[in-house]
């Protein structure tokens, strides 16, 4: 056993939490998936390589897999470029109306999936507004110009910057203004400061969001299906079809593992690149970053034009979704709005049903519980994994990424099958049919992203802060609470809000685990909008999307709106204090914010 492991075992708190964590990992991440995989790959006791042979001989599977990887690689570049630009435009450079710009870019936080893609087809699709405008200028143009791989990449780039907006912004807040000033006094250009002073601090977070972007590209679903056409289909639709057929699940699991292993390889490579670097300010008394004026007038104009053009591109699709949610199915399909096409019937249908608010309550409850439990657990686990590097912690870290390795349909089925009989591991109770099982599945699903973001944030905190506190006689828990916690709270709040929003309309997991009396929103939406109903319910899809935007927007406001307000008061009270703990106290107050939603 090496020194790190020995030191780790000295802390009783680490020991207890470690035991609980190991139990959770084994009981809910490892065991149910093993039960599922055994059923899939060893149906009658012997391993079959059928899946590999089938997939290899299928042109369609190979082409789709190639497209998925291509998309992931392209997005890893494009999303980073656009994501870094919007964060710098709103939080680093002094641009006019930066707050308004931020709101426009933040629309990706409250909507996504197939609805986001329809938002873009309302603008650039065959009947879209931009397309009609272009057709007036170039009459010979193909109205279906916005399709194929490039269209998929564009839509997924624009809708994929939410991680940057949340996490890069809080990483940027940790840049020490004094280092920027010092560089300026030494005559460094703005560009050089950005590259050599600011960017290094952002690196761990950039690596972490790159992993998320890559994974998002690999598992792309809605955009390729709607916009990809014949030549650009991806692998996820095939995985979902196969996961739904009992005898084809070996194909689904094989494909998913291929994607999962690729993600883990990227993760390992980036972890290696990150190890050993210094990602925090080196001055003794760091001060808060102030926005930088762009001195070159041409550059200033260019950045302004770009920022506002992007603002329009971001804002128009969600606005059109709201507008079209007040029309009927044929108007949505044709894209032509007349004064007569507006109706309140969709909203009446969704809102007047007496039972219609219950799924909202259930989903908000589940999302709030999950987001809170995951963040409390991971705040601690991420710190331990970042601080103690030994074979045990490395192994546990990889095991915690299991939810990224398998499609949620399969993990959900694994949980049902495993816990529909009494198991000693969970006190000989049956978990299938209880409210807890869905919460457990949600918690497991949200562990990887939470862990990644928190670990990246911990990497940006200098060790000497903790050393200083220890030297001053503070106990371990006290140091954690008063010194470290305030510094990671902005990221913790951001990831919690993101987790909360992403769980609101979950369908793939809830469909197998939901309690009959507590059906979440995702199921209600699917039932109301299923294509095999008597009528075409496209309009209802948009109504639900708008309602979800409202709930998600509210959650974001709890995290950001109120924090911005409290930060303004804090600044007024203590205009000159800028040492990390006091500056972060304002942020710290925001952790208590996401929780009130739990009391709904």
């Amino acid at each position: 056993m090496n020194g790190s492991a020995r030191r780790m075992l000295r802390s009783p708190l680490v020991l207890v939490t470690g035991a609980v964590l190991l139990w959770f990992v084994f009981a809910f991440l490892v065991f149910p998936n093993l039960v599922m995989l055994r059923e899939i790959f060893f149906p009658d006791g012997s391993f079959s390589t059928r899946a590999f042979a089938k997939l290899w001989s299928s042109d369609r599977a190979r082409a789709s897999l190639r497209n998925s990887f291509l998309l992931a690689a392209v997005l890893s570049v494009t999303v980073n470029v656009v994501g870094v630009f919007i964060v710098l435009a709103t939080r680093y450079f002094a641009l006019r109306g930066a707050r308004l710009l931020w709101l426009g870019y933040a629309t990706t936080l409250v909507y996504g999936g197939v609805v986001a893609v329809s938002g873009y087809t309302f603008v650039y699709g065959e009947h879209g507004f931009a397309t009609r405008l272009l057709l007036d200028i170039f009459p010979g143009m193909d109205p279906a110009w916005f399709s194929g791989g490039p269209a998929v990449a564009v839509v997924m780039t624009l809708t994929g910057t939410s991680h940057h907006l949340l996490f890069l912004t809080s990483a940027l807040a940790r840049v020490d203004h004094q280092t920027v000033e010092a560089a300026q006094q030494l005559g460094a250009s703005s560009w050089r400061i950005l590259r050599q002073v600011v960017l290094p601090v952002l690196k761990p977070t950039l690596f972490a969001v790159t992993v998320l972007t890559f994974l998002g590209g690999l598992t792309a679903f809605a955009a390729p299906q709607v916009l990809g056409g014949r030549d650009f289909q991806t692998i996820t639709p095939m995985i979902l079809t196969f996961a739904g057929i009992p005898s084809s699940r070996d194909l689904a699991a094989t494909l998913a593992v291929v994607l999962g292993v690729a993600t883990l390889i990227l993760l390992t490579v980036l972890n290696r690149m990150q190890a050993g670097g210094t990602y925090f300010s080196v001055s003794k008394v760091p001060s808060a970053l102030r926005r930088q004026r762009i001195t070159n007038p041409v550059a200033n104009a260019v950045v302004h034009v770009l920022a506002y053009a992007l603002f329009a591109v971001y804002l128009i699709p969600p606005l059109l979704i709201v507008v079209f949610s007040f029309t009927n199915a044929s108007t949505i399909a044709s894209g032509r709005i007349t004064p007569g096409s507006f109706t309140l019937a969709n909203y009446r249908q969704v809102l007047t049903d007496a039972a219609s608010s219950w799924p909202f309550v259930v989903s908000i409850g589940y999302a709030a519980v999950t987001a809170s439990v995951v963040i409390v657990l991971m705040l601690f686990v991420a710190r331990v994994l970042q601080k103690y590097v030994n074979p045990v912690t490395v192994a546990v870290e990889y095991l915690l990424h299991i939810p990224w390795m398998l499609p949620s349909t399969l993990t959900a089925l694994g949980l049902v099958i495993t816990y529909s009989v009494p198991r000693a591991m969970v006190g000989d109770t049956v978990l299938t049919g209880t409210l807890a099982l869905l919460a457990i599945a949600y918690i497991a699903a949200k562990i990887p992203i939470t862990l990644r973001m928190l670990k990246a944030t911990y990497a940006g905190i200098p060790d000497n802060l903790e050393e200083a506190a220890t030297l001053l006689g503070a106990s371990g828990p006290h140091t954690f609470r008063r010194v470290l916690l305030p510094l990671v709270l902005p990221t913790a709040a951001a990831v919690s809000a993101l987790n909360f929003n992403s769980l609101l309309d979950d369908y793939d997991t809830s469909v197998f685990l939901a309690h009959p009396l507590y059906e979440p929103l995702g199921i209600a939406i699917q039932n109301a909008t299923r294509s095999e109903g008597t009528s075409d319910n496209t309009a209802l899809t948009l109504v639900y999307a708008v309602l979800l935007m409202a709930v998600s927007g509210l959650a974001m406001w709890f995290v950001y709106g109120r924090r911005a307000a409290s930060r303004r008061t804090a600044r007024r009270d203590r205009p000159s204090t800028a040492h990390p703990t006091s500056a972060a106290d304002a942020d710290a107050a925001s952790l208590t914010r996401p929780t009130p939603t739990a009391s709904h």
Partner: protein, 355 residues
């Protein structure tokens, strides 16, 4: 701040534990006086049908808890919960799905009081594990305006890929999970049954499926067939009977269904008792009530379905009955389809899907 966090965590934890430990079976069996709540899984309770059923059942003295999911999802959930079922009754799935449930030993045999009023061969004739309730044709519909004379329109599925004029003018599914899609494919592949062929289908059959997808226009998720017809993108595609009239109204197009001589696949929805239910007596009473002539006739009038119960037919919605009866039922060996359908879907997904 610390207190707030501690309090919040404590509230959440107790909430989770308190609510998490009550399973529906324990709560339902606790009170023996009140009518037991039956958990019913169904894919046929959307569009207001569930609310209507709950209200009528309530009057008849049943307490229902409906779980409304897609057909494939219901099958998978029932299979996964086999060791400890949550559902008591399931209805709405077609005979192919029910056959696979029966094979997995998820169902219990029960002969309902109305068994003599239905054609038992449309359900599980030998095992008595599932019984037919409603039937509906799966059709090939086309836009009337696209063809000047009716005889220019496609008259059967093979026309689509054998006649040049229909190439790239009809919609093909882009997702094979839907029950209607699977019925269309079963209807096509059944015509080429060959026990020596791959998965029970001759090479000519697979060539037909390949041509069907190659010459078709893949459906766009989120865009209805009738939206594509209204936009002039395609002229034909698949539709179920109840979906035709409402969509014609929504999109202001007039469509006609082909009436092939070989007939069309007739989807028969079934009802079955879930094995291992702790409320077996109540569940059986519910099945007796639900399939009875009175309820089926009322259901038909309300939602334009065609009941299988002969006594209900007389009082059923006449338009739906005559529309359904205008189609010949295609002779399909459902046991053969049930045996192979999953493998067919896998093969098509891997090798033939167009998008």
């Amino acid at each position: 701040m610390r207190k707030t966090i501690t309090a919040a965590v404590a509230v959440l934890a107790t909430g989770l534990i308190a609510t998490g430990c009550t399973s529906p079976s324990t709560t339902a069996t606790a009170g023996t006086d009140a009518p037991e709540t039956l958990v019913v899984y169904s894919n046929s309770v959307s569009d207001g049908r569930g609310d209507w059923l709950k209200k009528e059942a309530d009057i008849a003295g049943f307490k229902l808890r409906l779980v409304d999911l897609g057909g494939g999802d219901i099958r998978n959930r029932l299979l996964a919960e086999k060791a400890n079922p949550i559902a008591d009754v399931t209805f709405g799935l077609n005979n192919v799905y029910f056959e696979s449930l029966k094979k997995a030993k998820v169902l219990d045999a029960y002969t309902p009081s109305w068994a003599g009023k239905v054609d038992a061969s449309a359900g599980d004739e030998a095992g008595k594990e599932y019984w037919p309730i409603v039937r509906e044709p799966v059709m090939l519909v086309y836009n009337k305006a696209a063809y000047t004379k009716p005889d220019q329109a496609p008259s059967d599925w093979p026309d689509l890929w054998t006649k040049k004029q229909f190439a790239k003018r009809y919609e093909v599914p882009s997702d094979l999970g839907g029950a209607t899609t699977q019925m269309v494919l079963a209807g096509i592949l059944s015509r080429y049954r060959d026990d020596k062929g791959d998965l029970g289908v001759s090479q000519a059959g697979w060539d037909a499926v390949k041509a069907y997808f190659q010459d078709g226009v893949p459906a766009v998720p989120g865009t209805d067939l009738y939206a594509q017809i209204a936009a002039g993108k395609v002229d034909a595609g698949q539709m179920w009977l109840a979906g035709k009239a409402t969509r014609e109204q929504q999109y202001k197009v007039s469509t006609e269904a082909a009436h092939p001589k070989t007939g069309v696949p007739m989807v028969v929805q079934q009802v079955g008792l879930v094995k291992g239910t702790k409320k077996s007596a109540e569940a059986k009473k519910f099945i007796d009530w639900f399939g009875s002539a009175k309820v089926q006739a009322a259901w038909s009038k309300q939602f334009q379905t065609v009941p299988t119960n002969k006594d209900a037919l007389a009082q059923a919605d006449p338009a739906a009955v005559s529309a359904t009866d205008s189609f010949t039922e295609q002779a399909i060996d459902w046991a053969f389809v049930a045996q192979h359908l999953d493998q067919w879907i896998e093969k098509i997904e891997l090798d033939y899907l167009a998008n």
